[in-house]
């Protein structure tokens, strides 16, 4: 029995003391995710606040876990939620079922549905984990107006889609998707 045997037993302990700490101080310090992390969904808005969702249910079709339920509604001139004829009157994502695969994002024809980096999806009530439109819609940014309201950015939905990419590049126009990307630390770095 050598004299260093007692200390040798602490070899791993001592060597680890000089390595980078792997434990995280969650929840006091939130973990920063990768920029394209598949977090909670968001239903984006056009720059004037109208919803991008047209209620087409393609996300629900793409979902392998059957976590999404959508019902379409008919826009009228008096009550308009999105440009064009149709909007999503009911939009629910069940986070008990969602596996975060992101196929819904790929299916979305209007880039209405995207994913945020928000990953805190736990609750003590199953019912509360079914998110409705009130919790999924992107927040109103400056310059946006709570629907229903008439189309502010053009005559018809074509104008919204044709001018959309251009408007997203203009610094004076708010865009929820771009905003989201900029808020993540990696993107702003």
């Amino acid at each position: 029995m050598g004299m260093f045997d007692g200390i040798a037993g602490f070899g791993v302990t001592f060597s680890t003391m000089f390595r980078k700490v792997v434990t995280e101080d969650y929840p006091r310090v939130k973990k920063v995710t990768a920029p394209r992390y598949h977090g909670r969904h968001q239903l984006n808005r056009h720059p004037d606040g109208l919803e991008k969702c047209v209620g087409c249910e393609l996300c629900a079709w793409a979902c392998p876990a059957d976590a999404i339920y959508v019902e379409g509604g008919d826009n009228t001139d008096e009550e308009r939620y999105s440009p064009g004829e149709r909007y999503g009157s009911i939009y629910q994502i069940n986070y008990l079922r969602c596996i975060g695969c992101g196929l819904c994002i790929e299916a979305c024809p209007t880039r209405s549905l995207t994913m945020t980096n928000e990953y805190e999806l736990a609750d003590d009530d199953r019912q509360d984990l079914i998110y409705d439109k009130d919790r999924l819609l992107a927040p109103l940014l400056p310059g946006m107006e709570q629907p229903p309201h008439p189309m502010r950015l053009g005559e018809n939905e074509q104008d919204y889609y044709v001018q959309g990419p251009e408007m997203a590049r203009r610094p004076d126009v708010q865009d929820a998707v771009r905003e989201e990307i900029q808020m993540t630390p990696e993107a702003s770095r």
Partner: protein, 859 residues
């Protein structure tokens, strides 16, 4: 049939290694395969039989070929020479030794199809994500299978205002239309409603109605408009009630049977989350081919109505209905019915205030919308549990003469005249049947028959749309005079009916005219024509065969000792005289007896009081009866009088069989099983209710009687086991003794009437779009009568009855003089209905018209 050919230079019809070409067939080569096809077959059908899918839009097997979309181009070689250009395979018929190369083997055909597809898509908008057709769209599918990967068209697309309502129910999106003309050809060829047509020329060519073309005029007023939505191969025609409701990939499709009429039409119900979102026509070549009427298609929301009854209700001491448990409701109902049956209830006080003779007995009014299983349960419940024959499923005008007719010609006769028989009949006569309004699917078949040479005769009052559209001949008669008209038919009509295969279709309204059923019976005896009874409601024929009538036991048995003993032993009753010996009261007599305090109780199924010949009497009867047990899906007027209300399942929540007018059993499985079934998740939001037969079975158990009708399947098996047993001696159909004829000597008019298809019936609730497509109710009179009364077209006239009046605009028609026609039931704007029966008016009876410049009563 087919054989692979190895480099055969000689004509396939002359090749010796193949069997000779069958008679009436030709032999041709398609995609290097030799095939025999019947002469005159379209190339596209021959390809289909070979399993070669040629893309197409305008082609439809039940419509005449049009060659409008040009999508089905194939390369054709005749006599060794290629045709200079690809040919449309939907218009070209097969020919001997033709060589056809589809897109599978011909680059030319493939390129031609891609070119056509590119052309069709030039102006087609990119709105598939919001289009109701998206996901089940032939254009989407075939653009993927036969189109180019990208378009060379960079110019601006042509746009139209959209959606454009062409009726309350049908929306037109002209941008999406590929001008295949399926809708216009359907309307012209099948329905006979030429309200939509191609308008304009060139790039502005579009489908439209008179209204869309000129800003005013007729819109798409057709009872069959929904079929155009279903056959539209793009999303150009969509339904207002299904608009944005769901996507096809999220729906479960379940086959079913129409519950709205006696046609037994096959339907497909698409549903999700416990609710039906749409109904489509099913395919059944023997019954409805691929067409249904709009009532069948669009009226389904009653099952999700806010007035649906889902829990048993019992009237408490406070006089109000309260929800209760099944056990409590069944116990109370059973105890009350037993007391009523045995006459042990409280005796009514007579004039002196002394207890008089106790009321005794229970009458049963099941209503005409039951499946045959449920009707059988009612029939057995009345006989075994209530020990009475007082049961009548006819919630409409009825007569003893009708019972004779049903016993002689309908009950237990099995499959009689069929749709196919109508199509091949040399002549058809409709009696007391306005076929488009009362049996729309039969109308379509009659119209198809008329297009191929069947002479359709109508016994009626005026040239209604059904008469005109079946190319029919009207045997015009004053209302109430139909029996004489049948006795003195024009010679050519009588001769046509004497040819083999001729058919007489008689409607349930024949009961409104005394002597008419006898006259029909006499006519078919005289001419040898076959007769078929076409009632309005889905359950009427089944009720006749199941014995839900006072004089008929299940299987068409008369109420005699043999049949009673047979039934008693079959039902496992110890005493062979356990079943009641005398024929029961009919519906009217049951209500009269209850109102007069003779009957103590009533068991009422799906009966609308306003449908009955005397709603006032019915209300009095329900008020007088000691106990009223109601089995209902939706709260109705009966609920107001009921002591116990037992909820029953609508058609979508149960299985069963409708026996249609042909006598054909139309079995259907449960569409939505809310109790869980295979998947509680999807059906979970529908209310759990039970079919009538189960409810009656449980109620009978509470009364110590076993019906053994726990499920529709068990009930059907027992009824099938009983079988039909028609009496050997068929009694005569007895007409009225004296002439109960009213004569127009007092200067009044005679009333003619029937019900229109969409008239605010019980199953049409919560369907505002459908109600908007109803034909506007009008009063019709002849020009001479109008002049005499001082009425002009479109003036509002009042139809006066003993209990009120009905005000409608006047239309002039070719009625006999001094006859007025009005729809039997008119929904009112603020809800509620006015029925002619409610006004005290009857078909063939006197009526007065007011509103003219001269007094209607003056001769």
């Amino acid at each position: 049939m087919t054989a692979a050919s190895e480099k055969a230079p000689e004509k396939p019809s002359e090749r010796e290694d193949l069997p000779p070409v069958p008679h009436g067939h030709v032999r041709l080569t398609i995609d290097d395969r030799v095939v025999d096809a019947p002469q005159g077959e379209l190339l596209i059908r021959t390809c289909e039989r070979l399993g070669i899918v040629v893309p197409r839009f305008c082609d439809h097997p039940l419509l005449d070929p049009a060659g409008a979309c040009r999508q089905c181009l194939v390369e054709v070689e005749m006599g060794g020479r290629k045709m200079p250009k690809p040919q449309a395979s939907c218009t070209m018929t097969v020919a001997q030794d033709m060589v056809v190369n589809t897109q599978m083997t011909s680059a030319v055909a493939d390129k031609a199809q891609q070119g056509v597809m590119e052309l069709l898509l030039i102006n087609h908008p990119l709105d598939c994500p919001i289009c109701d057709k998206g996901g089940e769209c032939p254009l989407q599918n075939q653009a993927m299978s036969s189109g180019r990967a990208d378009s060379r068209f960079v110019e601006e697309k042509r746009t139209f205002a959209k959606p454009l309502p062409i009726s309350d129910e049908v929306l037109l999106d002209r941008e999406r239309c590929v001008l295949c003309q399926r809708c216009t050809r359907f309307s012209r060829q099948i329905a006979g409603d030429q309200f939509i047509e191609l308008l304009e020329r060139g790039a502005h060519q579009q489908i439209g109605t008179e209204e869309t073309a000129f800003g005013e005029g007729e819109d798409f007023q057709s009872y069959f408009s929904g079929n155009t939505i279903q056959i539209c191969p793009v999303g150009a025609l969509t339904s207002a009630s299904y608009r944005f409701r769901s996507r096809p990939f999220d729906l479960v499709s379940t086959p079913g049977v129409s519950e709205h009429d006696s046609s037994g039409a096959a339907v497909r119900r698409d549903w999700r989350r416990g609710a039906v979102t749409r109904v489509l026509a099913g395919e059944d070549p023997d019954v409805n081919e691929e067409w249904i009427d709009d009532k069948t298609r669009f009226a389904f929301r009653y099952a999700q109505s806010a007035t649906r009854i889902t829990r048993p209700l019992v009237r408490g001491d406070d006089g109000e209905l309260h929800e209760t448990s099944w056990t409590d409701a069944l116990e109370r109902a059973a105890a009350a019915l037993l007391a009523a049956r045995d006459g042990t209830g409280p005796a009514p006080l007579d004039a002196d205030g002394e207890p008089g003779e106790p009321k005794r007995g229970v009458g049963v009014l099941p209503g005409g919308r039951l499946t045959i299983e449920d009707a059988y349960a009612y029939a057995k419940f009345a006989r075994a549990a209530l020990q009475t024959n007082d049961i009548d499923a006819r919630a409409r005008a009825h007569s003893g003469e009708e019972l004779d007719f049903l016993a002689a010609h309908v009950a237990g006769t099995g499959l009689g005249v069929t749709y196919a028989d109508l199509e091949s009949a040399p002549a058809v006569l409709t009696v007391a049947l306005e076929v488009e309004e009362e049996a729309p699917v039969v109308f379509l078949r009659l119209r198809k028959a008329a297009r191929t040479g069947t002479a359709v005769h109508h016994l009626g009052q005026w040239s209604s749309p059904a008469v005109v559209k079946t190319g029919g001949r009207l045997v015009r008669t004053a209302p109430g005079r139909e029996p004489e008209a049948l006795a003195t038919l024009p010679d050519d009509v009588a001769a046509a009916l004497a040819t083999p295969g001729a058919v007489v279709l008689v409607g349930e309204r024949a009961a409104e005219v005394p002597g008419l059923y006898a006259a029909v019976s006499d006519l078919v005896g005289r001419t040898g024509a076959r007769v078929a009874w076409v009632p309005r409601r889905a359950g009427e024929r089944g009720a006749v065969d199941a014995g839900a009538l006072p004089t008929l036991l299940p299987g068409g048995r008369p109420v005699d000792d043999v049949a009673r003993a047979q039934l008693a032993s079959s039902w496992g009753l110890a005493d062979e005289n356990a079943l009641p010996a005398t024929p029961g009261r009919d519906g009217g007599a049951i209500l009269r007896a209850a109102a007069a305090g003779e009957l103590a109780g009533l068991v009422v199924g799906g009966v609308e009081l306003t449908d009955l010949p005397d709603p006032v009497l019915a209300r009095a009867a329900l008020r007088e009866a000691d106990v009223v047990v109601s089995l209902e899906q939706v709260a109705s007027e009966v609920t107001r009088y009921a002591d116990v209300v037992l909820p029953v399942a609508p058609v979508v929540n149960k299985s069963g069989t409708f026996r249609n007018w042909e006598g054909r059993d139309r079995r259907f499985a449960t569409t939505i099983d809310p109790s869980g079934g295979s998947s509680g998740r999807v059906g979970g939001t529908a209310a759990i209710t039970l079919p009538d037969c189960r409810v009656l079975d449980t109620l009978a158990v509470e009364m110590d009687v076993d019906l053994f009708t726990q499920t529709p399947e068990v009930a059907a098996a027992e009824l099938g086991h009983l079988g039909a047993a028609r009496p050997t001696e068929i009694g005569p159909v007895r007409g009225p003794d004296g002439s109960g004829d009213v004569d127009g000597t007092d200067g009044s008019l005679r009333l003619a009437s029937w019900r229109q298809l969409l008239d605010g019936g019980a199953l049409l609730i919560d369907e505002p779009e459908l109600a908007g497509t109803a034909r506007p109710p009008k009063i019709r009179i002849s020009t001479v009568t109008a002049r005499r009364l001082g009425l002009v077209e479109d003036a509002v006239a009042g139809l006066e009855g003993p209990r009120g009046s009905l005000h409608l605009p006047v239309e002039l028609a070719d009625l006999p003089d001094d006859v007025v026609w009005a729809p039997a039931r008119v929904p009112q704007a603020g809800g509620g209905v006015i029925t002619l029966a409610g006004l005290g008016l009857t078909h063939g009876g006197p009526a007065r018209l007011t509103g003219g410049t001269t007094d209607g009563s003056a001769a």
